[in-house]
Point group: C2
Chain length 137, copies 2
DNA sequence: TCTTGACTTAGAGCGCGCTCGAACCCGTAG
DNA sequence: CTACGGGTTCGAGCGCGCTCTAAGTCAAGA
């Protein structure tokens, strides 16, 4: 598979793939006789996993640590596991934080809904007003 | 309240507060007779809300749109609400995505746990092996 | 044979969100 | 009076993660 095909299938650009190889996030790819990179489909699994790490906010420098352990092969599993477990905790905390923010957003939005409802009530004739949203004068 | 106090109470640096004012994220602050910024405690509420938007990944340019509507005052509520509702949807999607990633992480970590367990089994004497984790030779 | 288009490398540039440095101004404590 | 610990402005610099340009190579199709 050439870099353009991999780009299409992975969703990365060819530029980004080369960049990832340069910094060590992707292993140095085999080249064919024209010095063009020649990929095995299995690389897609790794790219997909990198995408998950990225989605969850892992900085590249941490992905590099994981990638290096992976390259080092057997014997690094405990360290890889520790790295992922730490990351998992950070992601869980992040999800909790986002959910807390969602509650605040809900409250804020409800506030605007009420503001708009008051406006509608004001514009409506008296007999159409509903459920006492106005403070008594 | 002076900028240093606000910095302590908000968690931002004085540099960042000035930067936010410069770009319009914070309203232009009143100055005292020494031309020093003099803040009312109420600004903290706004800074806190900005923090929520930031936590949830809203880019500064969008916060600026919201801040501008807020400055514009009454009559912009519907637009502000729409902005926040759109953002809320994005955040919800983000939470879903993170949760999906967490499942993948769990699977990956479980894989490493098993690898390590096999190692322990291999090191242990035969009679201590448990629950047939090994393929039969 | 010539053109087209995808590939190669090295390195510069960019958008974001700060972060910091320089040079200066003030008010207060010693 | 002087030193110090804030504050001020303006503008440059930085870390991140790409993104793009330039100049060249190569293989396949008209």
């Amino acid at each position: 598979m050439k870099i353009g095909d991999l780009a299409k299938r992975s969703g990365l650009t060819a530029h980004t793939i080369r960049y990832y190889e340069r910094i060590g996030l992707l292993p140095y790819a085999d080249r064919n006789q024209s010095r063009h990179r020649d990929y095995d489909a299995s690389i897609l699994t790794w790219i997909e996993f990198l995408g998950r790490l990225k989605t969850t906010g892992m900085p590249i420098r941490d992905m590099l640590r994981y990638a290096a352990l992976r390259e080092a092969g057997a014997g690094t599993e405990a360290e890889r596991r520790a790295l992922l477990e730490q990351h998992r905790e950070r992601v869980r905390a992040q999800v909790d934080e986002l959910n807390a923010c969602l509650l605040v957003l809900d409250t804020k939005i409800d506030g605007y809904v009420e503001t708009e409802q008051r406006k509608i009530d004001d514009d409506a004739p008296e007999q159409h007003r509903i459920r006492g949203r106005r403070k008594p004068a």
